[in-house]
């Protein structure tokens, strides 16, 4: 097959799969939360309420595309797109199965970190351009929170890089043939998961949009499809972080009997459910508590992990 055509097909498949998955996630989350909260959740549209998301999408697409008169128009429009684009870009380096990757970059890991870092702009600009005090507070929280968690998200991954000897995500997966990195890199895993929650700003780290405090936080002024983009962006982020946890710590597509792609999907799905379960069960810390936890606990921990891993690898190899 023409390699260019093959690449295009992969891009289309990945795009479609990722977008469908994150839309389906909305349904899944609502049903799972309902199950854990003694209620029913959406069950009217289609079998098991599966078409609920479709119905919501239709509604959101046909809503009036309203921009508040006091907002900074161009920035206000670009912000949600920026968020979704950066997350989708990250999926470009995700190896779903051997050879099944949009772009097998040598610096895949760095590309992923760079893209998540850029994602902050979507939120910060969205909150800033809304010209609303609640949105501004949400954006400030988002910026501070995501920037600081970025720091040791990267640091937590350096242990993995040392063990695998590569920034290439496929190589990292291959390096876990004998032992998944979740065992030698357990502190790294914990830190990465916590940072991942902060990056996706999901409960317990949903301070940027803390409903009971900031109404809707950074996207208070958004409605219609622009709000829809923020919404889908959040679920894309959840999928991305879950996929990354699997790639860095749980051997990616590796696994017996089943085809590699299925292993990857199953593992990712488990972590997505973990995200939802945590959301259902934890309260939210305060903004300054979150920051001090990041800098006083997680950062030293990540550095320590890095030093020890480096030391051991140096001594052994």
């Amino acid at each position: 097959m023409n390699p260019i055509l093959r690449q295009i097909i992969i891009i289309v498949v990945v795009m479609a799969a990722v977008l469908t998955a994150s839309a389906g996630l909305i349904w899944l989350e609502r049903r799972l939360l309902a199950l854990w909260q003694d209620r029913r959740g959406p069950n009217r549209v289609g079998p098991f309420g599966l078409m609920q998301v479709t119905a919501d999408m239709i509604k959101i697409f046909f809503k009036e595309d309203w921009i508040p008169p006091f907002a900074d128009r161009p920035v206000f429009v670009i912000a949600p797109a920026l968020l979704v684009v950066t997350v989708l870009m990250s999926f470009a380096v995700v190896p779903f199965a051997p050879g099944f990757v949009v772009s097998d970059l040598n610096v895949g890991l760095l590309f992923f970190l760079a893209m998540t870092a850029l994602g902050v702009y979507g939120i910060a600009l969205g909150g800033w351009s809304s010209n609303n005090k609640y949105a501004l507070l949400g954006a400030i929280r988002a910026t501070a929170q995501m920037l600081s968690y970025e720091v040791f998200m990267g640091l937590a991954l350096m242990g993995v890089v040392i063990l695998a000897g590569s920034f290439n995500l496929s190589d990292i997966v291959e390096a876990q043939k004998n032992l998944w990195f979740c065992i030698p890199q357990f502190p790294g895993l914990v830190i990465f998961i916590i940072a991942g929650f902060a990056e996706t700003h999901r409960l317990p780290f949903d301070l940027p949009e803390a409903e009971s405090e900031l109404v809707a936080g950074f996207h208070s002024e958004y409605s219609g499809i622009k709000f829809g983009l923020f919404f889908v962006g959040e679920y894309l982020g959840v999928t991305l972080i879950s996929a990354m946890i699997v790639i860095f710590f749980f051997g990616g597509w590796l696994g017996p009997f089943l085809p590699p792609i299925l292993w990857f999907v199953i593992k990712t799905f488990v972590f997505i459910c973990g995200f939802i379960l945590l959301r259902a069960s934890l309260p939210r810390p305060r903004y300054d508590q979150l920051m001090s936890f990041a800098w006083k606990v997680l950062l030293p921990l990540a550095l320590l992990n890095l030093i020890i891993t480096g030391g051991i690898v140096l001594a052994v190899g």
């Binding site: 005090k133 309260p283 939210r284 300054d288």
Partner: protein
């Protein structure tokens, strides 16, 4: 308690020129009339100097006396301002009344004696047009700034049909909107502090965290609260004014809606006060039924508070569990009363009906399952580290502050004071029951949470005793003023038939007098101060609600904290806006 209280003699000796007379009341609270000029001295003496002081300004209100018939034995005056003080050391109240003459009389503010007098004086000004000299910002509090007139004055109409049709032309709408604008300078707040610019954030009246139509203007430095200005009145429905036109009997449903989470708990102080005025003694069965239902509503209210409070802190699931439990309480309430949140089920001299067949089993089933669920909630929330760091040391007030601001209920008990009307001044037969008063020491959000959760357990204990020892007998007192009288009797004797007829067509006539009975309601001390002028409705119906006092303390305990802390405090204080605004 019928002999004159020693406090009266003491005041007479000390303030001979100021004390005018002592007035006997149906509730036996020592009631003293004082001159207008001397009252700040007396109040200051009672709060600060006297042995075992009256440290709480329990209530401050006024009466428009101009249309009253039965007050020949009282000092002359057009208006009366009433100070109701409470001493926790003596477990005794005192009522100081001041006669005032003229259309818009003036009085010295006692804002510097009690912090809580701030809002109470504003309310009196708003409702009666009585001014208080020296009050820092005597502005409307419950009514919109554009309101004309003072509604609790007798000449002010009570019904919409007595006023012209309501119209809202554009210019009026703009004027109204403009009046809602927050002007920081009115409250002495500035937009700068040293070299930082401060931001004003308007939180509410439509905000998911304020639990009702409540507005706080925040002065922020980043997310740190420099100052806060609470604003109330959005839920004001004129409940006290309605008390002056509804008959004694038909006012009962209005009381349900004061603390709308409290259900029949609101009926209780009202019917107790009316019964005191009418001299009705209710049968034992009525007392126990009332206690049982009131305790059910205490649990229901605490469950709503528990769920919404932890949701304010970010935990999204518990609220569903707790509302489910509350639904199960409502199943029992429905089986007994036919209503859910507002059954209006207590009557003057009894309750509406006898308990239905099979009620015991329903209640027992609930008593069996609830403790287990409470235990699992404790595991889920109270053991959670995040909840602890969000609530410990947040929104703390000391016992002195609490008494100064008029805090009652769990808030007061969380400061270490064992103060519960059910124990200290047993009403409706609470002295027959065994239960504890949970207390805590630090007075912060966490301690208030602990106290309330323990109260749920104590309420379960009380309900259990109710089921086990429910006395037999009639569900209504055999008294001509018990309304409506027992139906079966009306078909047998002419006397009851006449009372029934009059009670339904006209309304029961309660003998002249005044009384105030307080109960330990779900959120604190709730009391009705009713004045009868020998008519079919109250001459003045004053409702003292706990939430009103509790909201006032918010700025004092939230300065220096952050926005999320404020929301935790709001969720934790457990107020209901209808209870604040009435």
């Amino acid at each position: 308690m019928n002999q004159p209280a020693p406090i009266v003699d003491e005041l007479r000796n000390r303030f001979n020129d100021t004390v005018l007379m002592e007035q006997p009341t149906r509730d036996d609270i020592p009631t003293i009339w004082c001159t207008c000029d001397g009252v700040p001295d007396i109040l200051g003496y009672l709060k600060n100097t006297i042995d075992r002081p009256y440290r709480m300004l329990y209530d401050l209100t006024a009466i428009d006396e101009r249309w009253r018939d039965h007050r020949q034995d009282q000092p002359k005056g057009d208006f009366t301002v009433v100070y109701h003080l409470l001493s926790t050391d003596r477990n005794q109240d005192i009522r100081i009344k001041v006669p005032l003459e003229g259309e818009h009389p003036c009085l010295t503010s006692i804002r510097d004696i009690w912090s809580s007098a701030d809002w109470y004086e504003r309310e009196v000004w708003d409702m009666f047009g009585i001014t208080f000299d020296g009050h820092p910002h005597l502005r409307r509090i419950l009514l919109p700034a554009t309101w004309e007139g003072h509604p609790l004055r007798k000449e002010h109409p009570a019904r919409a049909t007595e006023m012209g049709p309501f119209q809202l032309p554009v210019d009026k709408q703009l004027r109204e909107e403009d009046a809602l604008r927050f002007h920081p300078e009115q409250y002495g707040l500035s937009a700068r502090r040293e070299d930082t610019d401060l931001m004003f954030l308007n939180l509410g009246p439509q905000h998911p965290g304020t639990h009702g139509v409540f507005r706080i203007a925040l002065q922020l430095d980043g997310e740190e609260i420099v100052d806060a200005v609470p604003e109330i009145g959005f839920h004001h429905r004129g409940a006290e004014k309605m008390g002056e036109r509804q008959t004694w009997h038909t006012y009962i449903p209005y009381t349900d809606r004061i603390d709308y989470l409290g259900g029949v708990m609101n009926n209780l102080p009202y019917v107790l006060t009316v019964e005191k005025l009418a001299g009705i003694n209710v049968p034992d069965r009525v007392k126990v039924i009332r206690i049982m239902l009131a305790e059910f509503f205490r649990i229901a209210s605490h469950l709503v508070w528990y769920g919404t409070f932890v949701q304010d802190i970010g935990a999204m699931s518990p609220v569903f569990f707790m509302f489910n439990d509350r639904e199960r309480i409502f199943d029992i309430i429905t089986a007994i009363t036919g209503g859910r949140m507002h059954p209006s089920w207590f009557r003057i001299g009894g309750v509406a009906q006898d308990l239905p067949d099979g009620w015991e089993e329903l209640v027992r089933e609930f008593l069996r399952s609830m403790p287990k669920r409470l235990k699992s909630y404790d595991k889920m929330m109270m053991g959670n580290r995040i909840l602890k760091i969000r609530t410990q040391g947040i929104g703390a007030f000391t016992l002195d502050q609490a008494l100064d601001w008029g805090v009652t209920g769990p808030g007061l008990r969380a400061c270490g004071l064992e103060w519960d009307f059910r124990k200290k001044r047993p009403y409706s037969g609470y002295e027959q029951f065994e239960f504890d008063i949970p207390v805590a020491q630090r007075g912060d959000c966490f301690d208030r949470t602990v106290v309330r959760i323990e109260e749920i357990r104590q309420s379960l204990r009380i309900i259990e005793q109710c089921v086990n020892q429910m006395p037999g007998g009639p569900y209504k007192a055999d008294h001509p003023l018990a309304t409506p009288p027992i139906k079966e009797h009306t078909l047998k004797d002419i006397e009851t038939l006449i009372h029934h007829f009059l009670g339904v067509t006209w309304g029961p006539v309660i003998p002249p007098g005044e009384a105030c009975v307080g109960v330990e309601a779900t959120k604190g001390n709730n009391s009705y101060y009713l004045i009868s002028d020998g008519g079919i409705h109250a001459y003045r119906a004053r409702i003292r609600t706990p939430s009103f006092a509790h909201l006032q303390i918010i700025p004092a305990i939230s300065r220096g904290l952050m926005v999320p802390d404020l929301l935790a405090i709001l969720g934790n204080l457990d107020y209901v806006m209808a209870d604040v605004d009435r």
